[in-house]
C-alpha cells in the first residue's frame, strides 16, 4: 500500500479558487465581445473615413477626459477596498466600496448627460435622422460625418456604460454583503472578483476613449 500513497499525485488543478478562475475565463469572453465591437468600428472607419468626424469636432473631449479620470479614480478606490479587507479592515472596505460606487455612478451619470447634449445637436444613432453639427455651431450648419459615426459611437460607449452600470449594481450587492460581515481577510473572493471585473471595465474604457475620442 505504500507505493500507492507514494504514487498519489497532489490534487490536480490550479492554485486559484473557482470563482477567480471563472471570472478570468468570463473576462476572456468579454475581451472578445469588445474586440468584435471595436473591430467593426475600425473596419467601418477605414472603409468610410468621410463618415467620421475629426476628434473634438462633435464629441466633447475635455468633458470625457474628466470622466475618464473619474473612472480611473474608481479603480484606485476599488484597490483600496481590496487592500482594506486584506487587513481585515471592515470599515475601510465599506468606505472604499462606497467611494467606488459613487464614482462609478457619477461616470454613468456624466455619460448620460453627454448623450443628451450630443443628441440635441443631431448626433444620434438613427441613420435617417442623423444631422450632427460641430459643437457650438449655429443651427443648420454643415453636417459632420455620417450615420455610421453615431451608430458606432452609441453602440460602443453604450455597451461600456451598460457594463459600468452592471458593475455599480454588483458593487452595491458587494457593499450590502460587506455590511453584513460576509468578507474577512481569509474570505475575500467576492471582493477580489468584483475588483477584477471593475478593472477590466476601466481598461476597456481607456481603449475606447483613445479610439473613439482621441484618434
Amino acid at each position: 500500500m505504500t507505493t500507492i500513497t507514494a504514487d498519489r499525485a497532489p490534487m490536480a488543478g490550479m492554485k486559484v479558487y473557482h470563482l477567480k478562475l471563472g471570472m478570468w475565463v468570463f473576462l476572456l469572453s468579454e475581451v472578445m465581445f469588445f474586440t468584435g465591437l471595436i473591430g467593426s468600428y475600425v473596419i467601418l472607419r477605414f472603409a468610410h473615413p468621410e463618415a467620421f468626424g475629426v476628434p473634438g469636432e462633435v464629441l466633447n473631449v475635455p468633458l470625457t477626459a474628466f470622466n475618464t479620470f473619474v473612472l480611473i479614480c474608481s479603480s484606485v478606490t476599488m484597490v483600496k477596498a481590496f487592500a482594506a479587507i486584506e487587513q481585515n479592515d471592515q470599515e475601510g472596505l465599506q468606505k472604499w466600496l462606497l467611494a467606488t460606487i459613487l464614482l462609478g455612478a457619477f461616470f454613468v451619470g456624466v455619460q448620460a448627460w453627454e448623450y443628451t447634449l450630443l443628441a440635441s445637436e443631431g448626433f444620434v444613432p438613427m441613420a435617417e435622422s442623423y444631422h450632427a453639427i460641430a459643437r457650438g455651431a449655429a443651427e443648420g450648419s454643415e453636417v459632420i460625418g455620417g450615420p455610421l459615426y453615431g451608430a458606432t459611437f452609441y453602440t460602443m460607449t453604450g455597451f461600456h456604460g451598460a457594463h459600468v452600470s452592471i458593475g455599480v449594481f454588483c458593487l452595491c450587492f458587494t457593499l450590502y454583503r460587506a455590511r453584513k460581515g460576509a468578507y474577512t481577510a481569509g474570505n475575500l473572493g467576492g471582493v477580489e472578483i468584483m475588483g477584477l471585473y471593475w478593472h477590466f471595465v476601466d481598461l476597456v474604457w481607456i481603449l475606447l476613449f483613445t479610439i473613439v475620442y482621441l484618434i
Partner: protein, 605 residues
C-alpha cells in the same frame, strides 16, 4: 476487482447519507443544480427540438418533391403559411423561406449544439474527471433556464404576424436588415433576441466547463489522462467562450439596424453588408467545430471501448483537437469566396482551410489504427460511431472541393453545399449523438437500450440517410441552388424533378424511422434491461460509480493512476484496466515484455 466493488458499495451508502434532507421535487427535477439532471433536461428539450427541426425539413422536402402541389394535412396551418385552394393547401414561398431559416437555426442552435454540449458536456465532464459536480452548479442551472425561453421565443416567432425569420440561418445583410425585403418584421427580431439569450446561456455554460476541467480534476487526473470526450468538450468550451461574444455583438448591431434604424449593415445609408458576413463567419466557423469536436470525442471513446484496444495515438488525438480548434479561427473567409472579397485573401483562406485536413486526417487514421486487428464488438453505439467515421470522411472530402476557390465558384450556394453540411452535421454529429446516447444511456437511466431495435433503427437510418443526402451532391453539380422554393421554374433544372422526388420519399422514410428510436428511448427508460455499473467494461471514471450515479457522484475522491484507454492490457487479467487501478507491485505476468510504468504525471505514453 474487489476494491472496485467495495468502492461501489460505499458509494451507494454515501449516496444514501448524502440525501439525508430530501431534495424538494422542484429542486430535483425542475430547478436542478445536479449536473446529471441538467444534462437530462438538455437532452429532453433538444430532442424535442430535433423533432421540430425534422418536421420543418419534412415540409421543405414535400415542396421540393412535389412543387406547387397541395400538401396533405396542411389545411390546419394558417393561411399565412399555406394558401388554401379547392384541392388543398399549397405552401407559400414566404413560408418556405421561414422553413429554410428555422430548420437550420433550430437544428444547429437548439438541437445539435445543446445535445453535444448541454447533454454530454454536463453529463461527462464531472464524471470523467472525478468531480462531484460542476464548479458553479447554480450557473449551470441558469444556463439551462436561459436556453428554454430562448427556444420558446424561437418557436413563438412562427405565430407572429409576418411569420418566422426568413433570411436564412446566416441572416445575411441587407436581406435581414429590414422587413421590406423578406416580409418578416417581428419574426426576424425574435430570432435575434432568441439567439442572443441562447448565446448568453452557452457562454456561462462554457465558463463553467472550463473552470471545472481546470480546477476540479481528481488526484492523478493529469491533462494527458483526461478521456478524449472531456478533452473535446473542453476545447469546444474554449471555442464557445471566444466565438459567441462575436456573434452576440453582431446580433445586437443587426437588431439595432432593424429596430432603431442604425446603419451598420445597411448599404443605403452607408453601412457595410459585408461586415455582417465577416462577423457572422468569424463566429460561424468556430461554431462548425463546436458542432463536430464533441462528436469526435464521443466517437473516440466508443471506438476504443468497443474495439477493446487503446485509442491509437492518444497524444496526437489531443493535439489534433487543439489544432482544429485553433485553425478554426483563421478560415472563416472560405464561406465568403463569392462575396466580392479580395481574391488574394481568398487564396490565403483556401490554404488555411486545406490545412485543417491535416489534423482531421490524423484523427481519422488514428480511428482506423484503433480498429486495426481489433476485437470489434458491433453493438449499437459502435455501429453509430463507425458510421460517424465513414460519413465524416465523405463530408470532409466534399469540404475540400469547396475549399478550392475555383471549384467553389461552380458549387457555391448549390445543393452540393447542402449535401456536404448534412454529411458532417447529420452523418457526423447526429450519428455520434446516437452513439453517445446509446452508450451512456445505462449511466443516465440505469437500464440498457434495446439492442435489436437499436440495430434496426441504425441500419434503416444509415441507408435512408445516404439515399437522401448523397444524391444532393449530384443536384448541386447540376446547378440546383440551395434554399430555392420552386426549382422547376428554371428549364434546365426540370430534369432534376425525379431525383428530388426520390430524395423526398426517402426523407419521409428517414423521419419515420426515427420513431423507432423515440420508442426505444422511452421504452428502455422504464422497461430496459437493468444495467450494472459498468456494462461496457470501460476504464473511465464514470463507470466506477452506480448507474445512475448518486448526488455528488463519488462516495470518496477517486485517485487516478493511468490513462483512460488501457484495454486488453497485459497488466490485467481482465481485458480492461480502470483508471483507478493502482499499478501492480513487483513484476507482472508479462515481466519479459518491456512494460511502461504508470506514473501520476502520465508520462507512460
Amino acid at each position: 476487482m474487489s476494491t472496485t466493488e467495495k468502492d461501489i458499495a460505499s458509494a451507494v451508502d454515501a449516496g444514501g447519507q448524502h440525501d439525508h434532507h430530501e431534495i424538494p421535487w422542484i429542486r430535483k427535477y425542475v430547478f436542478a443544480t445536479d449536473h446529471k439532471m441538467i444534462a437530462k433536461q438538455f437532452m429532453f428539450v433538444s430532442l424535442f427540438f430535433l423533432v421540430v427541426g425534422g418536421a420543418l425539413a419534412g415540409m421543405m422536402r414535400f415542396q421540393l418533391g412535389f412543387p406547387g402541389q397541395p400538401m396533405p394535412g396542411a389545411g390546419i396551418l394558417p393561411d399565412a403559411m399555406m394558401a388554401p385552394t379547392p384541392n388543398g393547401a399549397i405552401m407559400l414561398p414566404e413560408f418556405y423561406n421561414s422553413l429554410v431559416t428555422m430548420h437550420g437555426t433550430i437544428m444547429i442552435f437548439f438541437a445539435i449544439m445543446p445535445l453535444l454540449v448541454g447533454l454530454f458536456g454536463n453529463l461527462l465532464i464531472p464524471l470523467q474527471i472525478g468531480a462531484e459536480d460542476m464548479a458553479f452548479p447554480r450557473l449551470n442551472m441558469a444556463s439551462f433556464w436561459l436556453a428554454v425561453p430562448a427556444g420558446m421565443l424561437m418557436l413563438a416567432s412562427f405565430a407572429v404576424e409576418g411569420g418566422a425569420a426568413g433570411a436564412g440561418w446566416t441572416s445575411y445583410a441587407p436581406l435581414s436588415t429590414s422587413g421590406e425585403w423578406t416580409g418578416v418584421y417581428l419574426g426576424q427580431q425574435l430570432w435575434l433576441v432568441s439567439l442572443t439569450i441562447l448565446g448568453f446561456s452557452s457562454l456561462i455554460g462554457a465558463v463553467n466547463y472550463i473552470t471545472t476541467v481546470i480546477n476540479l480534476r481528481a488526484p492523478g487526473m493529469t491533462w494527458f489522462r483526461i478521456p478524449l470526450a472531456t478533452w473535446s468538450l473542453f476545447v469546444t468550451a474554449v471555442l464557445i467562450l471566444l466565438a459567441i461574444p462575436i456573434l452576440a455583438g453582431a446580433l445586437i448591431m443587426l437588431l439595432f439596424d432593424q429596430t432603431i434604424g442604425t446603419g451598420f449593415f445597411r448599404p443605403e445609408v452607408g453601412g457595410e453588408p459585408l461586415l455582417w458576413q465577416h462577423l457572422f463567419w468569424f463566429f460561424g466557423h468556430p461554431e462548425v467545430y463546436i458542432l463536430i469536436l464533441p462528436a469526435m470525442g464521443i466517437t473516440s471513446e466508443v471506438l476504443s471501448n468497443r474495439a477493446r484496444k487503446p485509442i491509437f495515438g492518444y497524444h496526437s488525438m489531443v493535439l489534433a483537437l487543439i489544432s482544429i480548434g485553433f485553425l478554426g479561427w483563421i478560415v472563416w473567409g472560405h464561406h465568403m469566396f463569392q462575396s466580392g472579397m479580395n481574391p488574394l485573401l481568398g487564396t490565403s483562406f483556401m490554404i488555411s482551410t486545406m490545412a485543417i485536413a491535416v489534423p482531421s486526417a490524423i484523427k481519422t487514421f488514428n480511428w482506423l489504427g484503433t480498429l486495426w486487428k481489433a476485437d470489434i464488438h458491433f453493438d449499437v453505439p459502435m455501429l453509430h460511431a463507425l458510421s460517424f467515421v465513414s460519413m465524416f470522411i465523405i463530408g470532409g472530402l466534399s469540404g475540400i472541393f469547396m475549399a478550392s476557390t475555383p471549384v467553389d465558384i461552380y458549387i457555391h450556394d448549390t445543393y452540393f453545399i447542402v449535401a456536404h453540411l448534412h454529411y458532417v452535421l447529420f452523418g457526423g454529429s447526429l450519428f455520434a449523438i446516437f452513439a453517445g446516447i446509446t452508450y451512456w444511456f445505462p449511466k443516465m437511466f440505469g437500464r440498457m437500450m434495446n439492442e435489436p431495435l437499436g440495430k434496426v433503427h441504425f441500419v434503416l437510418t444509415f441507408i435512408f440517410y445516404n439515399l437522401v443526402f448523397f444524391p444532393m451532391h449530384n443536384l448541386g453539380l447540376q446547378g440546383m441552388m440551395r434554399r430555392i422554393y420552386d426549382f422547376t421554374q428554371y428549364d434546365f433544372l426540370q430534369p432534376l424533378q425525379p431525383m428530388n422526388q426520390f430524395i423526398t420519399l426517402f426523407a419521409f422514410a428517414l423521419i419515420t424511422t426515427q420513431l423507432l428510436f423515440v420508442f426505444n428511448f422511452f421504452w428502455s427508460i422504464f422497461k430496459g434491461e437493468k444495467a450494472g455499473n459498468n456494462p461496457w467494461k470501460s476504464n473511465t471514471l464514470e463507470w466506477t460509480v452506480p448507474s445512475p450515479p448518486p448526488h455528488g457522484n463519488f462516495a470518496e475522491m477517486p485517485t487516478v493512476f493511468r490513462g483512460p484507454y488501457e484495454y486488453s492490457s497485459p497488466e490485467s487479467d481482465d481485458d480492461f484496466l480502470p483508471q483507478t487501478t493502482p499499478p501492480r507491485e513487483g513484476p507482472g505476468p508479462s515481466s519479459g515484455v518491456p512494460e511502461p510504468t504508470p506514473t501520476p504525471e502520465g508520462a507512460e505514453a
